[in-house]
Amino acid sequence: MSESTFTVPVGPQHPALKEPENLTFSVDGERVVDVKIRLGYVHRGGEKAFEVRNYNQGLYLVERICGICAMAHQLCYANNIEALHGIMVPRRADYIRTVIAELERIHSHLLWVGVAGHEIGWDTLFMYTWRDREVVLDLMELATGNRVLHATNAIGGVKRDLTPEMISKISKGMKHLEERVRYYAAMIPQEKTIMKRTVGVGILKPQDAVDLCAVGPTLRASGIKRDVRRDDPYSAYDETPFDVITHGGCDVASRVLVRVGELFESIKIVNYASEHLPSGPIRVKVPINVPAGENVSLVEAPRGEDIHYCKSNGTDKPERYKVRAPTLANWASMATMLRGGYVADIPIVLAAIDPCMSCTDRMAFTDVSANKQWYWTIEELRRYSANWHGK
């Protein structure tokens, strides 16, 4: 690099979201010349943790990889273990899983549109979409019992059935959200505040997107039609009509428009799957020991392709459980998107892949009056929980 290049470290405090990673930028004036990525600040050793827990415990651990796409990870895990058992879940469970998975996508995309508004300094949009997102979270609570970490899946099906009352409430919610999304879809392309900050920003050319193995809305906003729901269907996606939304702009604006388009498709899928629920049981019983074998399972999480690999050895614990969440797949493209751009655009370009670094591995306690802070290890937390429940 020339003498005019400076190195600017960014992070581990995230410049866009409330999660840590470290980026070392080489900049020439206001232009980004290169970027080096360093992750792992919230690595919790999850893959090792699977090896010392049985498959049922893993079902809850896997949800905690990510609070936003908990359903996607858990569904991928359940599909994986069910395949190793060689069982098919009841068709009704497949449809219920599809409904919950798409509700999750709606919540995640609405959340993201709000964050994107926030990153470009337009917090009104953030307030609007997060208000709408409450509708989905309430429906999630209605259908699963929880706003986040839904614990919907069991190995062999789902835990809760959808009642006709729930379906009618879901349908009402979808009607409301469809109106709201129609408003966003009409407003965004005309809104200068968004367009001026996103058109032509963070370019990822189609060839680069393919070469760097980008996934999800990031890939589809570069005009590439790939979506696990269509390419490797699971649950009820093989019987559910929907379109894979793409956009040819290859910039942040396209990533916004793809997600808005996907909101319509998700609403369509939720309506279709909840109206076409097959009758029958929602769960089959499976033994805790899983026959020896290996399996690869994929799910289209809100942020893109989520892949899990499991090697079982005949016991109740996996020999190896591998997870690759969609964000990691989009980091390689990130450098390409940032190179040549302005320093001021770094936050929105970063936010545009909808990164999720994961959550924290322990709890911090602060006693403000005593000006003291301390941490609980997982053992202490478990002991506290056992005592509390024992009362």
Partner: protein, 171 residues
């Protein structure tokens, strides 16, 4: 019997291309194929799958501790027959001895593998020859050298002990 013509076609073409470099091929079920090759044949196999079967996407790379060896799976996707057909996941595996784990890097053929190879290097200590930068991606600064957390001999207690030694030294 389930139709797996496309899967079979891919495996047969690999058999013809690789000869005895192909160690094992398994058609597990529709859209899932597992193939094991010798480590030296790895780059040419990836290139062949990319160019002849449109498998341009590496979803991730998984390391597996197999006792004396480390198995490394490259999960490749693609092989569509037409624009609307489904994709096949081919898990291409090569093994390398644990005492000196080395494999050729595939980043020159599929640049998207760059972070996954770094991750396997962090977790299992596999050196990917030809990789542009194998500096730590996930393990923290000051992580003990040669402590590869996903190897079976590194139990959670062992890892805790090693980390406390490093932390103790830093104080």
């Amino acid at each position: 019997m389930v139709e797996m013509a496309r899967e079979n076609e891919i495996v047969e073409s690999l058999r013809a291309k690789l000869g005895k470099d192909l160690i094992e091929a398994k058609l597990q079920k529709p859209r899932r194929v597992f193939v094991t090759v010798t480590s030296s044949a790895l780059p040419s196999t990836v290139q062949f799958l990319r160019d002849s079967h449109d498998m341009k996407h590496v979803s991730t790379i998984t390391g597996v501790d197999q006792g004396t060896e480390i198995g490394v799976y490259f999960h490749l996707m693609g092989a569509r027959q037409n624009a609307d057909s489904r994709e096949i996941v081919l898990s291409l595996k090569a093994t390398t001895p644990k005492t000196d784990p080395r494999l050729p890097s595939i980043t020159a053929t599929i640049p998207g593998a760059v972070l996954y190879e770094r991750e396997v290097h962090d977790m299992f200590g596999v050196i990917f020859e030809g990789h542009p930068d194998l500096s730590p991606l996930i393990v923290p600064d000051g992580w003990p050298a040669s402590l590869y957390p996903l190897r079976k001999e590194c139990t959670i207690d062992f890892i805790k002990g090693e980390i406390s030694k490093v932390q103790g030294g830093a104080k």
